[in-house]
């Protein structure tokens, strides 16, 4: 055996000195000389500052050098390219938005198989290409990381096979009634599926309720929503109904409403719109005559109108309480009578008596067949408060064996939330189809997450005779399954929901090519009869209504609370949508919160200032919210929006604001969205993030308005044009110019915004945000005035004061009941742009097509341009909003980023950005025209805002094309209603506004 040769590391080892032994097991005697500890003692092993700096310097240098080498980038093609997908070319699919709130046929733009934009479907006779902020933003709900990733059984993730098996076993052995609770369902095929599912149980019930209920309206109209047609109405009286913003079908109604609101010199007629309401709603802001009244006064006002109309038409009057608004009622009723056959009265009241009278008024005015299309009633509200209340009772009595929630979230949005929770404890089998573990789903055994509507097939019958289809535009992102397919599975059926839809439709549109056509168009005509009310509750008789109204009762002392719905958030289904949370409310301009709107008189009385916390108590429950001083709020009332205060919505929506549903009045069989409350200061404050905090125009002609009477007399008198004093007398500002004019040869893009058509709904702002990858910044940054929206809607209130009354300070205060005007404000693309001349690095330049270009990669962030912009439309990236956990909205995770438009750069920190006139769309449109060897057609190239506008208030086009719509309008309106904002600065904008005309009484 050979002896192992031994080597020594040195003499020290050979001698085995104590020093050697000490260090033998410590190979690196000193650790890296960087330590967080402060080296005060020189003998301590802590690195001196210099070493640290040396290392830092080396590190920076090394990192810089290393970064010179670009990383290897991969290009990964499809393995099997789907035939219809071409990278870089968008595909469009027709679909339909309906999340229990607004029916909206849409087109979905997909790129490389992912939906990135939603636009209106022009083929729809109901909405005619219009959209709503909610339908636009519903896209982001698809990429919501808070959605469930798969089925959940007893809070544990499970598989579909297991959960199906368990549910079927449990359902077979169920004791008692099986109930399916849903919001309004207008899908004929879904109803078929539910019916078949229910047929296997001895006792089955489908309970429908709506969070923002229209039960009383349905009851007074035989179980349907009357087929209102605002386009035929010359006089409109609304008692509380926000029909342009939120009520029943705002997209459809906006489109109809605007028909008689657009004026030209050739046709100078307009409808007149009276609005009686408590809270200044978007619709109220558009009314010609707005009368603030308390919710308890609705019935008296409606009764008075009824009596006046009955007197004029030979009907039987009822005994009515006195109303303090006799004069206004008289005027409204007189006008209604004068335009008999073209008059319409609507109300959002959920008091059956009020709705009975409204129906009676409409009948007396001959609205049926004219302003109400009796042949095509709407089905988009079917909720029955009474049945829901009965179900809550039954659950508590133990009469319900199984309950399935589909789209409904009563634990959050029902006033008897606590009873629902208690009742659920007594129900044997509890299933939810919620796409997330929401407030209700948190109390159930099984959550079978439903697909997003963009992942599903579905059909709709919103109005009698009109059908809509939804088709999947992406394969399900998570392991979710459409609720209808789940129900079919539990029925034991082997067909899928798609087949069911085809079967439903085959009798109406036929199969084969006709079906393909229907899928392509996303809609068809025909009726299934599935949504016809089966056994509507008998309407109140006039006599009963009169008795109910005279009993009054609710009109007591104290403050009255009116509970309203916000345009953006709705009843709560969009709370977790950052786009909608950050969309500023049309009238209050607030984001990311709900609040108590109070009048300034009441604020003074209570000693409350804006943002002070208030405690509102009713029904033995109280909520605390900050105060927002709202001009136009009826005296003695406050308003609070629903949809906030969710606890299980997801990251963006949880604990934003407070839940006001518990304060809803439960009166007998109906829910009344008003209450008598006690209000007190709660101490402390919470700032409300408003995007606009000044309220009046202070006498400047930034925004112009006039009256119809004046316009009819002389269309040239309605707009004020600025003249500059020169030695040659007053001149147009353009005459006095330092700059040379541009010459446009190819295109000259321009925009016309008709202030008469703009209803302030904010759809354009959301559409712009989606199209242009505009970042969501969150509440704090909005408070810091660092919101990023390229397009904002300025809302101005009128002021009673003039300059003679005490100068500008007085003019800052809006009137108690102000007139409101909305003005979309975006980059004006000035021909003599003040921003262009101050940029030291030429990062903002003028193009040969009239566009004020912004070049992010050149911008060094001096912000001179923003300072020099008189319109204040430039936005600075104070932070890197993408990939930044401080801004954890849609641009901070891979899923959320799928919504980004690949044709638009995601801006980085330190650069300026602003409206680009959707230059990516212009470039795309021009290229398509060039490929076909033709000039672009008018209407082919439109900006995202113009596309989204439900009232065509925004017209975009080529001003060099003499036949384009924009050229025609400009030619017609020159010297009449067309004006430029701040014309005196001679910026020569390419955006032209048209003066608002009011049909004042």
């Amino acid at each position: 055996m050979q002896e192992t040769i031994k080597y020594w590391r040195g003499v020290e080892e050979l001698n085995n000195t104590p020093e050697f032994q000490k260090h033998a097991h410590n190979e690196f005697p000193e650790f890296l000389p960087v330590s967080e500890a402060n080296g005060g003692d020189s003998s301590s092993p802590v690195a001196p500052r210099r070493d640290f700096l040396k290392l830092l310097g080396f590190g920076v240098a090394a990192a810089t050098l290393a970064s010179c080498e670009s990383p290897v980038r991969k290009a990964i093609p499809y393995l099997h390219k789907p035939e219809e997908v071409e990278p870089g070319i968008p595909n469009w699919y027709a679909s339909t938005y309906f999340m229990g709130d607004i029916y909206n046929p849409v087109l979905v733009k997909t790129r490389e198989g992912r939906p990135i934009k939603i636009e209106g479907n022009n083929l729809s006779p109901i909405t005619q290409g219009a959209t709503h902020a909610r339908s636009q933003a519903s896209l982001l709900n698809l990429y919501d990381n808070n959605r469930l990733k798969g089925p959940v059984a007893k809070k544990q993730p499970t598989s579909w096979e297991k959960i199906d098996q368990e549910i079927r076993t449990r359902l077979t052995g169920v004791q008692g009634r099986v109930v399916l609770v849903s919001n309004t369902i207008i899908s004929p095929s879904t109803k078929t599926v539910i019916r078949e599912f229910g047929a296997q149980f001895p006792a089955f019930e489908h309970v429908t309720y709506d969070a923002n209920s229209a039960s009383a309206l349905l009851r007074a109209n035989g179980g349907v929503v009357p087929g209102y047609d605002f386009s035929k109405a010359r006089t409109i009286v609304s008692i509380g109904a926000d029909f342009l913003g939120t009520w029943i079908s705002p997209v459809e109604y906006s489109k109809q409403y605007i028909v008689n609101r657009k004026v030209t010199a050739d046709r100078p007629v307009m409808s007149r719109h009276f609005q009686f309401e408590s809270f200044l709603s978007m619709t109220g802001a558009n009314a010609d005559v707005r009368i603030p009244i308390k919710p308890s006064e609705y019935s008296a006002v409606v009764a008075a109108i009824y009596n006046r109309v009955a007197a004029g038409t030979g009907g039987t009057p009822i005994q009515a309480p006195n109303t303090a608004y006799a004069k206004q009622v008289e005027r409204a009723a007189t006008e209604l009578l004068a335009s008999r056959g073209a008059a319409l009265v609507v109300s959002d009241s959920n008091d059956p008596a009020v709705q009975t009278l409204v129906t009676a008024i409409n009948t007396a005015l001959g609205a049926n067949g004219t302003t109400i299309n009796t042949a095509v009633p709407s089905f988009v509200r079917q909720g029955d408060d009474a049945r829901m209340l009965r179900l809550i009772n039954d659950m508590n009595n133990g009469a319900v064996g199984a309950v399935i929630f589909y789209g409904a979230n009563p634990v959050y949005d029902h006033p008897l939330s606590q009873q629902v929770v208690n009742g659920l404890k007594k129900v044997g089998v509890k299933i939810s189809f919620a796409d997330r573990e929401d407030e209700t789903a948190a109390h159930v055994d099984y959550i079978c997450p439903d697909n997003h509507y963009l992942e599903s097939w579905n059909d709709f019958e919103p109005k009698r005779g009109f059908l809509g289809l939804a088709q999947p535009t992406i394969t399900p992102i998570f392991n979710t399954r459409q609720a209808q397919d789940s129900l079919l599975k539990w029925t034991g059926s082997t067909t899928d929901f798609y087949t069911v839809i085809q079967r439903t439709w085959s009798g109406i549109v036929g199969g084969g090519a006709a079906w393909d056509r229907a899928v392509h168009d996303g809609l068809a005509t025909g009726t299934t009869g599935a949504n016809e009310p089966t056994a509507p509750a008998a309407p109140l008789t006039l006599a009963a209504a009169a008795v109910s109204i005279n009993r009054g009762g609710r009109a007591g002392k104290g403050t009255e609370l009116v509970i309203y719905e916000k345009v953006a958030i709705g009843a709560g289904q969009h709370t977790n949508n950052p786009w909608l949370q950050e969309m500023s409310d049309p009238t209050t301009k607030a984001t990311w919160d709900n609040y108590v709107t109070i009048s300034s008189a009441m604020a003074n009385q209570l000693g409350v200032e804006q943002n002070d916390m208030l405690r509102v108590t009713a029904n033995g429950k109280s909520i605390e919210l900050p105060a927002l001083i709202q001009p136009g709020q009826a005296q003695g009332t406050i308003g609070i929006a629903i949809g906030y205060g969710r606890t299980h919505a997801g990251q963006a929506g949880n604990n934003v604001g407070a839940n006001v549903y518990p304060l809803v009045t439960v009166a007998g069989d109906s829910l009344i969205f008003a209450n008598n409350v006690e209000i007190a200061k709660a101490g402390g404050d919470r700032p409300i993030a408003q995007t606009q905090t000044h309220h009046t125009v202070m006498g400047r002609i930034v925004v112009q308005e006039s009256t119809l009477a004046k316009y009819q007399k002389d269309p040239k008198s309605v707009t004020e044009y600025v003249r500059i004093a020169t030695p040659d007398g007053p001149q147009k500002p353009q005459k006095v110019s330092l700059w040379q004019d541009y010459e446009y040869k190819n295109h000259h893009w321009g925009m016309v915004i008709d202030l008469n058509s703009c209803i302030g709904c904010g759809t354009c702002t959301v559409s712009c945000q989606i199209e242009n990858n505009v970042a969501v910044v969150g509440k704090q940054e909005v408070l810091n005035r660092r919101d990023m929206q390229w397009l904002r809607i300025d809302r101005y209130y009128s002021s009673d004061a003039t300059r003679e009354d005490g100068g500008f300070e007085k003019m800052e205060n809006p009137s108690e009941n102000p007139q409101v005007i909305f003005q979309p404000m975006l980059c004006q693309h000035c021909n003599h742009a003040p921003c262009e001349t101050v940029c030291p690095v030429a990062a903002t330049m003028h193009s040969t097509e009239g566009i004020n270009q912004m070049v992010y990669n050149r911008c060094v962030g001096t912000r001179y341009c923003a300072n020099n912009c008189p319109y204040k439309v430039r936005r600075f990236n104070w932070f890197n909003y993408a990939n930044n956990e401080k801004f954890d909205y849609q641009m901070n995770n891979d899923l959320g980023k799928m919504v980004l438009n690949p044709d638009v750069t995601v801006r980085s920190r330190g650069v300026m950005e602003k409206c680009s006139f959707c230059v990516q769309r212009i470039q795309y449109g021009k290229l398509e025209a060039k490929k076909d060897g033709r000039r672009p057609k008018d209407g082919e190239i439109v900006t995202a805002c113009a596309q989204a506008c439900p009232t065509n208030a925004i017209i975009f086009g080529d001003m060099l094309d003499p036949n384009s719509q924009i050229s025609q309008i400009l030619k017609r309106e020159q010297g009449e209603r067309a004006f430029h904002v701040l014309e005196e600065l001679n910026t020569q904008p390419n955006v032209t506004y048209l003066t608002k005309i009011r049909n004042l009484a």
């Binding site: 393995l79 990278p87 270009q853 750069t905 990516q920």
Partner: protein, 440 residues
Amino acid sequence: MISCKKRAKYTFLLPFLLIFFVISSAFAQTPEQSQTGTAGVTPGAETPAAGGGGAADAALIENGQTLFKNNCTQCHSVGSDVVVGPGLRDVHKRRNQAWLLKWIKNSSALIQSGDKDAVAVFNQYNKQQMPSFAFSDDELNSIIAYIKSASETPENVQSAPNEGPERAEAGKNVGTDAVGSVGGYVDLLLVVLVVVLIVLVATLLIIAAVLKNYLKSKGDLTGAEQEMLERRTNFANIYKSKAVRVIVGLIVVVVLVDISIDKVMGIGIHQGYAPRQPIAFSHKLHAGDHQINCNYCHTSVYKSSSANIPSANICMNCHSQIKKESPEIQKIYRAIENNKPIEWIRVHNLPDLAYFNHSQHTKVGGVECQTCHGPIETMEVVAQYSPLTMGWCIDCHRNTPLNTEGNAYYDNLVKLHEKQSKGAFVVASNGGTECSKCHY
């Protein structure tokens, strides 16, 4: 004081030096610039045929021929020989028009419908699926018209293959020779210049020697004159001269600065970048030797902003039959089996802030692929041919005349331009150098 003065004396040299460097660097750049310039100007060889005067039939056939070449030749010949699918000689006699239309548009549907002929053809050619083509009926008719006319010419078997290389030859000339000729011209000029200079120096030396000899032979020179005549150049003096030192020092500094600026500016430019790809795909073999049209694989190059990298099923169109045993092709099979896409290494990387659209350049501008991608049909491994810098883009936009012919979009613009300017109607004259054309 004196030194100050002296220094002041030399400063006049600085501008000269600068001028020297400007000129030299300009010279260094010229070949490159003219290269891109000419390459950019190269008009597309395949500009859409504008219906050449003759009968509509001829145009139809010609159109059909183009379509056939671009889409069908990979698998079919117009003769009777089998490539992948059958030779199409007299196919219009064998099958009726309606059947042909159906078959080309969606052969699998026809087979599934149980059509006897279709099933027979399918079985005869190894159950090889023919891909579907989304042609319009007019386009299909033109293809069939072309096949008809080709079947009637007896020599078609000969002529068809001949035509390809010729065209490629032409393309090649455009790509490389044009570039080479410009480079050669400059080189020649330099050589001539050098020769002239050498001759000049030689002549001067000879003259000096002759004069020296003459003076020496004269003999009546004063001492000083003699001394001057005898004096030899002292190189050490030149070396010691402050002026020379300053000049040399300046030259060194300027050269160093120039080099470092050049290097720094070159960061991020990957001209010549030719990474090893996961599959040794040869463009030379496919695009060069076999004359497969670029559009056959990069299907969206005329339609979309991106010229897509072909998906594996496009490779399978041919390689389910051809070269199945090759280890490289086995990799594609494996990818399909494992359902794992092939991860190619991206050669051409534009920064995200720049928007580039292929169809704008290929379809509208009629720019050849080779103009930017170089002689791709000769590349075994694809390399980045152009610098892809903004300067390079702008240069081309400034010099390239717009391809306006037969495009109604430009009609009015051309007229306006001709009225106002004598210069060519280049991309830049139509706003082609504006920021928002590429940055948004």
